[in-house]
């Protein structure tokens, strides 16, 4: 009985962390589905989001109003994303750039190096720790830290909002169309350049939301986005690039595998299980669980 309780606890905690991972992964896969590029600086937008959150709640708003700070951080990072997309990534689609993949990879990797080191220069290599968002709660058999609970609920809420937005609104349908056929959307008279900017903005805002939600848990420091990026990338490969449902399911799966791997095998390798899962998926289904098979023209 005791054992069963323990397993239930681990399963539940795996699902909780899985939902949070999924939010980050959905941001990455969303940008990919529209722009067909991987944003390697996702972790840095996560980091910027967490810094904004920290300074907003410690300065302007006060620790009690963290729920106001989260949308503000998301908005600010989203605007930054739109600006950077216009400045650096637009040339991928305007003009005659060869090897777009390569361009996007190099530019976003450089952006990541830039922001990560800039954060050290501006704020120092220190860790800031915001106060917990909420008092500890009991979730069935699982005692949960308040911040983790908030991050779980917040992530689930944002995922639901995002899903509804994509499925129900005009903009969401336009974005779905762009994901399926960029040329087709243009013939329907939709400004694709604008859609790209919006998609990039929304994607990095989701990363910022993850950063803001996890700020009390992962703390606020220049490299705090690294873990979430690792998980995010693992999830999108497992779930299949460009598939939002795939990302959510793969997020939960990764959370479960890590959590159960911790009790069944060893906690030291917690972060390696995701990779093992990824390799297994890649060998069996290189296009991911829910991704589309590459069509050879």
């Amino acid at each position: 009985m005791d054992n069963l309780n323990l397993i239930a606890q681990y399963v539940l905690s795996g699902l909780v962390i899985g939902v949070i991972y999924a939010l980050m992964a959905v941001g990455i896969t969303f940008i990919y589905s529209i722009m067909k590029m991987i944003n390697w600086s996702m972790g840095e937008f996560f980091m910027i989001g967490s810094y904004l959150q920290f300074f907003l709640i410690m300065g302007l708003l006060g620790p009690g109003r963290w729920y106001l700070a989260i949308p503000l951080s998301m908005l600010a990072v989203g605007v930054l994303g739109v600006f950077l997309q216009r400045l650096l990534l637009r040339p991928m689609f305007v003009g005659t750039l060869e090897r777009r993949d390569e361009y996007a990879t190099i530019v976003t990797i450089s952006l990541s190096v830039f922001f990560r080191n800039l954060a050290v220069v501006v704020f120092g290599p220190y860790q800031f720790s915001p106060p917990d968002y909420f008092r500890p709660v009991q979730l069935g058999p699982l005692p949960l830290n308040g911040s983790r609970f908030v991050a779980f609920i917040g992530s689930a809420l944002l995922l639901a909002l995002f899903y509804l937005g994509v499925k129900r609104t005009w903009l969401g349908r336009a974005l779905q169309g762009a994901a399926q056929n960029r040329l087709g959307v243009q013939t329907a008279g939709i400004d694709l350049q604008r859609l790209d900017q919006i998609a990039f903005g929304i994607g990095v805002a989701l990363a910022a939301a993850t950063g803001a939600l996890l700020a009390p848990i992962l703390l606020v420091h220049p490299e705090n986005g690294a873990i979430a990026t690792v998980k995010g990338f693992e999830i999108i490969v497992i779930g299949g690039l460009g598939s939002i449902t795939g990302s959510i399911i793969a997020g939960l799966l990764l959370g479960l595998v890590e959590s159960l791997g911790t009790i069944v095998l060893s906690p030291a390798y917690r972060d390696v299980y995701g990779f093992a899962l990824l390799i297994a998926i890649l060998v069996l289904r290189p296009w991911g669980l829910f991704g589309e098979r590459e069509r050879v023209a």
Binding site: I106, L111, V113, N117, V121, I236, L282, V283
Partner: protein
């Protein structure tokens, strides 16, 4: 032998003599900087062969360097294997691991390949950090020096030889049939397969050769510094290699050499903190990618072309200007 070949040979001998005498002209700290530069010349050049010429945008190159270093270091520490033998083992293991990763990622498109190789590197770092009983984890593993010395002058000559070997080998490879096959695979894999190129074999070959080169650099470097640490598999290290190649010029033979030396030496000259340096170099890369995708070498070449136009040397036959294969 015509006059052009003779003058080229003369230039190379002068350059080589200069490189051989260089350590006598500068102090030991500058010698150390040169050793590090040459280490990065090997890494940047071999990554350029893999990513630039074969089109396999791997993000695990630094991991293979570390793999070579750890293999050789652990053999020396735990099994008492002589250092040169350990280095050989490191090269072979890195090459074999590269072959394996190449085989695993064969079917992947560009983006999947980048993600999978990156995940491989991250996992290797986590495993090395977790297996502290053997690797001493984040504390770092002390390993013996090659020939029992950490004198930078000795290691300068070793690394000069390694860098020359790597660059000459890559140049020869690119000018051979294999080089054409690799570039054909990069430009259009299906078309390459249609013309009878065994794309599977040559992709694995590119991975194995470049990983062995990285492993060699890493193994020698470990026995120069005398300390191995999982920090060397951090993504920053891979970013540094990419920055060097882009700054110098992707898909050129001279680009990675110029880029590695430029970035490393400039870092030392500027004497700024590591972070400020990285901010500046990242900015430089972004600006170059946006405005001058050919890198510094393309910039220098276009300036040289403009200069030539102003001097009387305009009538140079086309065959005189050595064309860079891209």
């Amino acid at each position: 032998m015509n006059s052009r070949n003779r003058s080229l040979g003369f230039g190379i001998s002068i350059g080589l003599a200069g490189l051989l005498l260089l350590p006598f002209a500068v102090g030991s700290y500058a010698q150390h900087v040169l050793v590090v530069s040459l280490y990065y010349v090997v890494l940047a050049s071999s990554w350029n062969l893999l990513a630039g010429y074969t089109g396999l945008f791997s993000l695990a190159h630094h991991a293979f360097a570390a793999l070579g270093g750890y293999t050789s270091g652990m053999l020396a520490v735990h099994a008492g294997v002589p250092v040169p033998l350990g280095i050989l083992a490191g090269v072979i293991l890195a090459g074999a691991a590269g072959y394996g990763l190449g085989a695993l990622t064969l079917r992947m498109r560009a983006i999947y390949l980048a993600l999978a190789t990156w995940a491989f590197a991250e996992s290797l770092r986590l495993i090395i950090a977790a297996e502290y009983k053997f690797t001493r984890g984040d504390l770092g593993l002390r390993v013996p020096h090659l020939f029992g010395t950490s004198n930078p002058r000795v290691h300068y000559y070793i690394f000069l030889a390694l860098a020359l070997l790597t660059v000459v080998a890559i140049r020869a490879l690119l000018h051979s049939k294999i080089g054409y096959r690799l570039r054909a695979i990069r430009d259009d894999e299906e078309a390459a397969a249609t013309t009878g190129i065994n794309t599977v074999r040559w992709k694995k070959f590119a991975f194995a050769v470049t990983s062995a080169m990285a492993g060699m650099a890493g193994a020698f470097y470990g026995h120069y510094i005398g300390l191995l640490s999982p920090v060397s598999i951090k993504f920053t290290e891979m970013a540094t290699i990419i920055i060097m190649v882009i700054v110098g010029g992707l898909r050129t033979i001279s680009g990675p050499i110029v880029g590695a030396v430029f970035v490393e030496v400039l870092s030392e000259v500027l004497r700024l903190s590591g972070e400020v340096r990285m901010v500046l170099f990242a900015l430089l890369v972004i600006v170059l990618m946006r405005l001058y995708p050919g890198g510094l070498m393309a910039f220098v070449r276009s300036v040289a072309r403009r200069l030539r136009r102003y001097t009387a040397l305009r009538e140079v036959p086309a065959s005189w200007q050595e064309k860079e294969i891209s």
